[in-house]
Symmetry: C5
Subunit: 384 residues, 5 copies
């Protein structure tokens, strides 16, 4: 297996090339390509060596799952494309990871694109270990994926393409994540539905995993919102505006990835592809429900972020009012007093008050009375 | 009846499990499960013991209402699911109480999910007594449910799932509320429509109760809005912004629960399920009308909450203006006067005015004139 | 005719009662019930005594208009309901005056609900005289309904239910208004279309009256908007914000009543009820046009109210700027001058300037120059 | 020809009259009625005297254009209505010039209502000369219509009703404008499409003129927007807010007139009236394109007006900041200095510094140092 | 080839002319017209001289691409229109470059209008060299089009009209750009799809180029947004508001050009024109996907620009607060101190404190204590 060319170019730089030119287009450098083959039916399940001549079993009662992760090896991906007779535009879409979630129903296969989303803690994104080894007898444990909850999260998304034919599911993950390890594990369980139902159920299972994963991301965003609310109400305004803006960007980002999935899955159910049985349709309906829930939550989050901005703005205004009030009270009380002192500081030759015995105490009294009037006035205004 | 496992997990933590795994998913710990069986037709109505072998009567002219409240006993719920031949995904939805309101039309039953909403007075939510005992001859009184109207309300919702077959209605309430006591009471009345019409009418009656209950919640929200309006217009701005924000959250929350009910009931009417007679359809239409009314009210509330925010913002601005005006007037009048006093406080050897006989009164006069000019100017500006 | 029970309860308090329970639900106490019977065809028109045995003529060429105003007499309304074989839910909707405008097409009748809206001058709402006596030979004059235009209007709406059968129109007005007197008068005119066309035309005529009446209300709102605009541009900001908010509430209120009427009438035209002839359909189309016009106006009003809020906000800001400018100018000019005076007010033993012959004029000159520089600077900044 | 009654009443004041009552309803007094008759086919084109017995030619190969301008002569308009067998509601709509743009397809004619919009320069609206004389041989020149571009424009609209039958086009203009002179001129050109195609093409030509005219109005609005932008960026804020508000009102006004035209023309094309040939449909399509363009422009204008408001608001804020900065700098520098001067202005018997030889210069030095520190601080803050 | 009339008039000035009058209407002067003819099929590809008699080959297996750039030569364009039997309205649309993107399906051809958008660096727009010479054997290199990224960009758009018949593609570019050089180059490649597929594929290729080009423009806008964000967060507010406004205008502008393209291409796919094969439909689907992506990005940009405005507004407010705080602190500390100094600056004959030995230090101490209290107070308020 020769390593492919690692060229990550932006969508724009592909401009001018004929359609079907295979170049990886995405926001990150392509990960190295790993291909695994799983062959199973109700009675057995095996991982086949990639060098095996029969990677797609000829037995019509057998399903094959080709799990590709990392899109750098263009040769290998092209080979798989030929194996499954994919349209050049499909291959191009698999490699161009800026696709909008969608499905396309070709004569010989169904093509589905989704986005796996993940919250990154500032740059530590792709440092996870590769997925654990898959044993020949298909078993294992779910690896520990404790997410560290830190302040300034950003949303990372990677593309998942799924090809579904009569007997084959082929999944292309942009990065080398371990998200589907639980599915591999479930494959080893004879009684699991994946084994009993066809490849369309496997496609559903992958989709369900991706969508279930959205809930984790949403929970994190929900916590961010609650943190922000608390900080503002506690009067801690440092960097709040930056965080509100970053929250809004994250929500925009998520919406871009999640919103079209709803339409995609709804369309898939409505338009009744040949590759999806009615039995599996019921399960896809359940995924669709979840996507409606997610969209409701997303809409709420968006409105809450607007509410947080409004409360922040009014906090700024309130604080300004408070500052102004102190200035006004102090200045307004002392300016007239200072004026009185100024009068008796004048050096006129004849100022009778200055010679009075009780002139000084009288002046002080005048000041106290003036101040008292002010204070009473401010009390009435409810400023102090 | 064995007590079930009490495991309340969040939607996200279920990620990775195969569909149909029965775990209670919700925001609160599951309440203990109570199951009651009511068997009735036009001529009789009885509550059956849960241990009775014939909980679902074999008599084809008889309806059965299985009323389940509390979702902790997974075994029991699973048993009922098998009794009614429910799809595993339906059972899962019943237990996962974060469903969006919806209905699903299966071959052998109709599944409807709604949300019961309630206004909580800060944490005293679930302290109500369990529903009053149901007597064998089905009668009773509506319990006293005087709601205490306190300041900072929050919306609590619990899930109601209804299964409707040819002869059975099975309702699953997330919490153990007494909302349906009036229906139980009505069951004992031979002339009530519930007795005369089929199980679809019972399903309608339950739905109607839930929707009627929304009106109470909306009335409370309406009172909150009027309180806020009054406080702002009276100039009492303490914590107003927090309350506006909390109002908006409540509205968002309610909208999430109530909005989809309209589409759900409309869809149910439009798509003419086999389990719902035309006679009952007319009644569902009435519920649909109420939901349209509720949505109109909700939309008004939302716009009023925006209006309240705007009036609050402008109040802040007005108040600031008022404070600034006082400062400006005082400072602007006294600063020049103090300057005049300052001049005659200078110690120059030759300042002829200081020696004039009427120098001091002249200075005072100059100050009075200056102040008068200022006052006239401010009057013209309409600042005082 | 026995007086009915006067019980006005809110929508929420009806919760728990079986559907079809006849209780008046509305925002005001129900008005006393008056029922009048008009029998007419192309050749004659008479008002029948309510005690007459044949209130609904058996002659198939004759139309009957039952005009009910005031909903307090539940017995009487129930009796009419039985006479026309109304569905219990229809009777309930007639009595529950918080209906959303709608129509319902039953087998034996068409049910239409509209809202009559009126601008109230602060509480003087229901003090109008009862409608003028209807003479047996049906004639009369339009009573004088000069509306007093006062400052703070609020919108009052009352419900109008219309039942249309083959030969009967039955209208239920929530309050006892004289809005339909002109129609009664027109009934006496042999050549009027009401006489020549069927009962569906009468229903159209009632609807047309209600919708024409909306234009008066809209004109009043338009005047309110123009008043507000003028006051803000003239700089009279007293209570402006309260009035903007009250305007918005009125618009919300009107929208809730008028918006759904458009859909209702459009639906009525589109769905071609058996009770409405094609001939009358053309006339309903004209009403529909008016409702589109009204919605356009309403939308404009809503955007104008937003514009008024924006202009008000910016007025507050501008005014603040102006106040600040005066303060800044005065303070900035005099603070340095006062400082200079302060210097020469110091009591140091050796301050040579104090002994100079022209020290005092020189100090005054320094002040004048300083002030002049300031003034020039502010001129350049275009602050003065 | 007898002059009709000149009664312009508002929409609301018509309330209570039976439909079909012919009263002119509009915002202005009705203009005097002028009726002109043009008879033409491919081989000839003549203006017929209104007193001619054959105003509508009986020759089936001939088209007639009845051009009515001014709606005051009710008798004459009624006569034309009878001539063309118009429905009473159509006649009413022609006279009630507050119609929303729409079309109605009757059995014997097509009725189309549009709005001619024009920018008025403050009250000089209707002072144009009447349209130039139409010569019997139909020829002429386009009159000079140089519009004066002045500051505060307002939108005036007048109603155009078009009746289209098999062989007749009848246009009713609310005011007596010369907008269609170019069409009259074109009529005299044998090779023009108007002559070669049927009356539906003439209706298209009138519509096209009205829509082309919208572009002029839009260009004027576009110039207003650019003026506003420039003024705000140049810092000239006088009356800006009033102009923004007036711009928004104009846009609202235009939208009310232009928006529904798009739907109207689209509907006309889609619903394929019998009176419109396929050949003319292609031309109407072109008008529809223009209306889409206009709506795009309108939407842009609306968003630009919002943007202008935002930039204006932030300008106010920025300016306030600038004013505050100057005040802060001056006050903050001089207040401590004045305090120092105040200290040495105290009259304590024993203040050793006062007796020092270099006390005065030392105090001055202290002041300079204090001022310098302030200046450095403000520099760092980037305030100066 | 005779040079045509160079008359660029605005849309409005065309008002009054009959449809089909050929005048160039656009925002810029028309560029000189260049026409090139390419004839090709799978076995050969040649550029034909425009003077050749057979510019459109009679061989039914041959495709012809007529590439027109610059619209000034009306004669030439009219000649091509006759050659292809174009409807006069189509010719008019080609010349009127303010079209909204759209397609029209005529009997004998398909007409498609798109907009080529480009970011201009302030006025240096049209200074590029004309497209490189096209050699007879069709080959070449992509010219260097390094765009200079400068601060204040504006969006320029030019119109591209495409006529598609059975065997001919005719493209009309408003300006003389080199955007299609890569396609010309590809034409020389025997194995390229353009050669193998029909003229509909060529039309797709042109469209694809235009849409790919949008991505470059969007990337530039995205960079502008990031620059703005950084500047605001770094506190560099100079001209930020102007740049936000300019960004919004650019987004509005782009939306006007790009938004309708999506509907256009979707409609083209949905309505299955005779001129487009199913094979090419798949490729157009890919373009449609890209347009959905672009619209998502655009919507994000719009919301981000709103977010940037909000963060800017709150920055202004925060800065104001900061300025006010400094003023308040300094003034509030020194005003009372100056008042104390003022008291002891009074000249009363009997002020005992003045004679005390430690009067002066005591006064200083009083001042220090007063100042200290203030500082503590401000600390508590968290102002310093
Ligand atoms: Mg939603
Ligand atoms: Mg939504
Ligand atoms: Mg929303
Ligand atoms: Mg939204
Ligand atoms: Mg939404
Ligand atoms: Mg929504
Ligand atoms: Mg919204
Ligand atoms: Mg609504
Ligand atoms: Mg609504
Ligand atoms: Mg709304
Ligand atoms: Mg909304
Ligand atoms: Mg709504
Ligand atoms: Mg709405
Ligand atoms: Mg509208
Ligand atoms: Mg509207
Ligand atoms: Mg709107
Ligand atoms: Mg609307
Ligand atoms: Mg609208
Ligand atoms: Mg709205
Ligand atoms: Mg648009
Ligand atoms: Mg918009
Ligand atoms: Mg729009
Ligand atoms: Mg809008
Ligand atoms: Mg639009
Ligand atoms: Mg739009
Ligand atoms: Mg989108
Ligand atoms: Mg949006
Ligand atoms: Mg938008
Ligand atoms: Mg959108
Ligand atoms: Mg969108
Ligand atoms: Mg959207």
């Amino acid at each position: 297996m020769e390593p492919g060319k690692k060229i990550a170019v932006s969508q724009a730089s592909k401009s001018g090339l004929p359609p079907g030119t295979l170049i990886h287009v995405g926001e990150r450098d392509p990960a190295p390509t790993h291909v695994r083959y799983f062959v199973y039916n109700q009675s057995f399940a095996e991982e086949i060596s990639p060098d095996s001549p029969d990677t797609i079993s000829r037995d019509p009662d057998t399903c094959t799952w080709i799990k590709v992760s990392g899109l750098s090896n263009l040769e290998e991906i092209k080979r798989i494309g030929e194996l499954l007779s994919l349209h050049p535009l499909t291959l191009e879409d698999i490699l161009n990871t800026s696709q909008r979630p969608k499905y396309e129903d070709f004569d010989n296969y169904l093509y589905l694109v989704l986005k796996i989303i993940r919250i990154d803690n500032k740059g530590n994104a792709d440092t996870r270990d590769p997925s654990p080894e898959f044993k020949k007898d298909i078993s294992g444990t779910i690896p520990d994926t404790t997410a560290q909850s830190e302040e300034n999260n950003s949303i990372a998304s990677s593309q998942l393409s799924i090809i579904l034919t009569d007997r084959v599911v082929c999944s292309f993950e942009e990065t080398d994540s371990d998200i589907f390890d639980a599915i591999i594990r479930r494959l080893s369980d004879k009684k699991s539905r994946i084994r009993r139902y066809g490849p369309d159920y496997l496609m559903y299972a992958l989709t369900d995993f991706v969508v279930d994963n959205y809930f984790s991301v949403f929970e994190r965003i929900g916590e961010d919102i609650e943190n922000l609310e608390e900080r503002i109400i506690d009067g801690d305004n440092r960097d709040v505006m930056e965080d509100i803006y970053s929250l809004k960007r994250n929500l925009l980002n998520i919406r871009k990835q999640v919103w079209p999935v709803r339409e995609t899955i709804s369309g898939l159910i409505r338009n009744k592809s040949n590759f999806i049985s009615e039995q599996t349709g019921v399960f896809l309906n359940d995924v669709s429900d979840h996507l409606y829930q997610l969209n409701d939550i997303l809409e709420s989050y968006r409105e809450m972020s607007t509410g947080i901005y409004e409360i922040y703005l009014s906090t700024l205004s309130t604080r300004m009012n408070e500052v102004m009030k102190v200035l006004t009270i102090i200045a307004t009380i002392f300016i007239p007093l200072t004026f009185i002192a100024g009068i008796y500081g004048m050096n006129f030759a004849s100022m009778p008050e200055l010679q009075w015995e009780y002139g000084y105490p009288a002046a002080i009294l005048a000041m106290v009375v003036t101040a008292a009037i002010m204070v009473v006035y401010f009390r009435r205004k409810q400023w102090i």
